[in-house]
């Protein structure tokens, strides 16, 4: 028993050392990817502005000013006001909190599901693997947005339900990825070695296999966050996502379905649209940088 502990410590020391070396080299590589670095800075600025910005503004995002409705940008309301006389800038920033949070939480949900299911399928194999993978095929063969609008219409539209539904339907790609990594890793020498020393299954999964399978998951989750933000925006745009008076970039664009607003009040719909593009593009660039830096196999 003490022998196996020694071997385990030895292997974990080795992986820790590897990690230390890797972490400096991936940061060097990531820094060289100029678009990724720019994306990261833009994203950080957007997040800081969304989280702290509202504290420094004169208006709250839900406060209505009936004397200035649909007012164009001026000195008081820097980005004008909407149809209910709410300050567009204040809404834009608080919407940033909502949209970014939906992205993070939805992806966290499906990464958790995907890692567990993929890990089990890859490690256990056999019929368990078959059932999980057929389930993944099935979820993938549904067009996500139709299922999502159906579920949202039953559960009722809200921030929470949007996160939940995107989270519950997003797991198959992560599951496939983790399963693939597990299948190849479980035959590798260091896993066989720790198995032969009698290490329990869960310990092997969490200490030896999972850390080595995480790289592609991180890359995939980064791109997934961009997808989730786009999906939330589309749902809220259709009126099926985040509900007013809470602002999200998508539901601010909902107003532009009216031709008058589209034609005459661009300050109501251009800023939220640009915010979505800026955040999603930044995340995609960061994802691309991470892929180049972390995964030598997909080097362009």
């Amino acid at each position: 028993m003490s022998d196996s502990a020694a071997v385990d410590t030895a292997t974990s020391l080795k992986t820790d050392a590897d990690k230390g070396r890797k972490s400096t080299s991936w940061w060097k590589k990531f820094r060289r990817h100029r678009l990724a670095l720019t994306g990261m800075i833009v994203l950080a600025l957007l997040a800081i502005a969304s989280v702290f910005g509202p504290f420094f503004l004169e208006f709250s995002p839900t406060q209505t000013d009936l004397l200035s409705i649909k007012a164009p940008p001026d000195g008081t309301h820097l980005l004008g006001t909407d149809a209910a006389g709410r300050d567009v800038l204040a809404r834009l920033l608080s919407a940033g909190r909502v949209s970014l949070a939906v992205g993070v939480v939805a992806v966290a949900i499906y990464v958790a599901i995907g890692v567990v299911l993929g890990g089990v399928a890859g490690y256990v194999g056999g019929w368990v693997d078959g059932v999980i993978m057929r389930l993944a095929d099935m979820v993938l063969s549904f067009p996500a947005i139709i299922v999502i609008i159906t579920l949202v219409s039953i559960l009722g539209p809200s921030i929470f339900n949007v996160m939940l539904v995107i989270g519950l339907l997003g797991w198959p790609p992560i599951t496939r990825l983790v399963r693939g990594e597990f299948l190849s890793l479980r035959e590798r020498d260091f896993v066989v070695a720790s198995k032969s020393t009698g290490a329990p299954g869960l310990r092997i999964i969490f200490r030896h296999i999972l850390p080595n399978a995480l790289t592609p998951v991180i890359v995939n989750a980064t791109f997934g966050m961009a997808q989730a933000i786009l999906l939330e925006a589309a749902l809220s745009f259709l009126g099926l996502g985040v509900q007013p008076p809470t602002a999200s970039w998508g539901n601010m664009l909902n107003a532009a379905q009216s031709i008058t607003i589209l034609e005459e009040m661009p300050w109501l719909w251009v800023p939220p649209g640009l915010m979505i593009v800026a955040s999603v593009l930044s995340i995609n660039f960061v994802g691309d940088g991470l892929r180049d830096a972390l995964d030598p196999r997909t080097r362009r």
């Binding site: 095929d137 067009p143 139709i146 299922v147 609008i149 786009l230 664009l253 995609n284």
Partner: protein, 320 residues
């Protein structure tokens, strides 16, 4: 070949059954039941809870879930998808008249994306690491990062409202004779928005696939024989590079279908997407279930078609 396709078809049956089961379970999550949904509260208090219970019993609503599922499956298999709770019309009829506009839009988008995506991908690969390659890669990132509905709004703003070149919505101009030119003008904007979104990944995959093929030995051999470079690229490399692209196009159909739903709403396109949104707003679950089923079937068929095409063009694939 026939055996291979038959096997693919058989494998897709459990998936199809799973889809119907999931569809039915989701529908059962919906609150309320068909009997109380049809009555206003006043009628209901006159008739009493006993009457409601009797009706439910006679309609089979009190049967256990598996029994109800099997009955529903039998009806679905014969083409009976139930009735819309909004206007009492058969769901199959309602979806039927919306199917064609959606398929017309999707087919146009597929053609646009192939015509735009593959040549640009080839260009990108042949001029690897040139400014045009970087430009296309950057443009691809921007394209997948713009919400399709926002791009649609921008294009409507520019081309319909400011320049007044194209109509803002619909499939035809109302009250006018349906000419090809008129329907073409209505198609331009929605097809452009969706076509760009579909073309972006196609450019990347075509580029990657061609770059990989060019390194193959048979391409080197062809060059060594002294075959003209253009012939090497088109006849030897490109034809083989395009094989995996078939799968990429088919696997992207779900994304296209999702995009179509949102874009139909922006352009008031009379397809399944606008029907789905109306059904959500009216809590018309029978219509929603029908659309789910049709959409999943469309995706299954596109996957099967891809398998068939793949097996036909690539003699290296062993089917049997």
């Amino acid at each position: 070949m026939a055996r291979y396709l038959l096997r693919r078809l058989v494998i897709s049956i459990p998936v199809l059954i799973g889809i119907t089961l999931a569809t039915y379970l989701i529908a059962n999550l919906a609150p309320g039941d068909p009997v109380t949904a049809l009555l206003n509260p006043e009628q209901m208090s006159n008739l009493g809870p006993d009457w409601v219970e009797e009706q439910k019993e006679s309609l089979g609503l009190n049967d256990p879930l598996p029994v109800r599922y099997l009955i529903w499956l039998k009806e679905t298999a014969t083409g009976n998808l139930g009735f819309s709770s909004a206007d009492r019309l058969p769901v199959s009829e309602k979806i039927g008249e919306r199917l064609w506009p959606t398929i017309k839009l999707m087919t146009t988008v597929l053609i646009v994306s192939v015509v735009v995506g593959i040549p640009l991908g080839v260009l990108s690969a042949l001029r690897q690491y040139s400014w045009i390659d970087y430009l296309l890669t950057f443009a691809g990132f921007v394209t997948v990062s713009i919400p399709s509905f926002f791009l649609a709004l921008v294009l409507i703003y520019i081309f319909s409202l400011k320049l007044d070149w194209l109509p803002t919505s619909g499939m035809y101009t109302l009250g006018q004779e349906r000419t090809f030119l008129d329907s073409f003008r209505h198609m331009v904007l929605p097809a452009a928005v969706l076509g760009l979104a579909q073309a972006a990944p196609l450019i990347r995959y075509t580029r990657a696939s061609l770059l990989e093929t060019i390194q193959q030995d048979y391409v080197t051999v062809a060059r060594a024989k002294g075959v003209a470079e253009s012939v090497v690229i088109v006849r030897h490399a490109l034809r083989n590079a395009l094989i995996p692209i078939i799968t990429i196009i088919a696997l992207d159909v779900p994304r296209l279908l999702g995009g179509t739903i949102v874009i139909e709403q922006v352009f008031s396109w009379p397809g399944m997407g606008t029907l789905a949104i109306a059904a959500v707003q009216g809590r018309d679950y029978n219509v929603l279930m029908g659309i789910n089923l049709i959409a999943a079937t469309m995706i299954l068929i596109s996957n099967l078609l891809a398998d068939a095409l793949y097996a036909m063009v690539d003699p290296r694939i062993k089917y049997g």
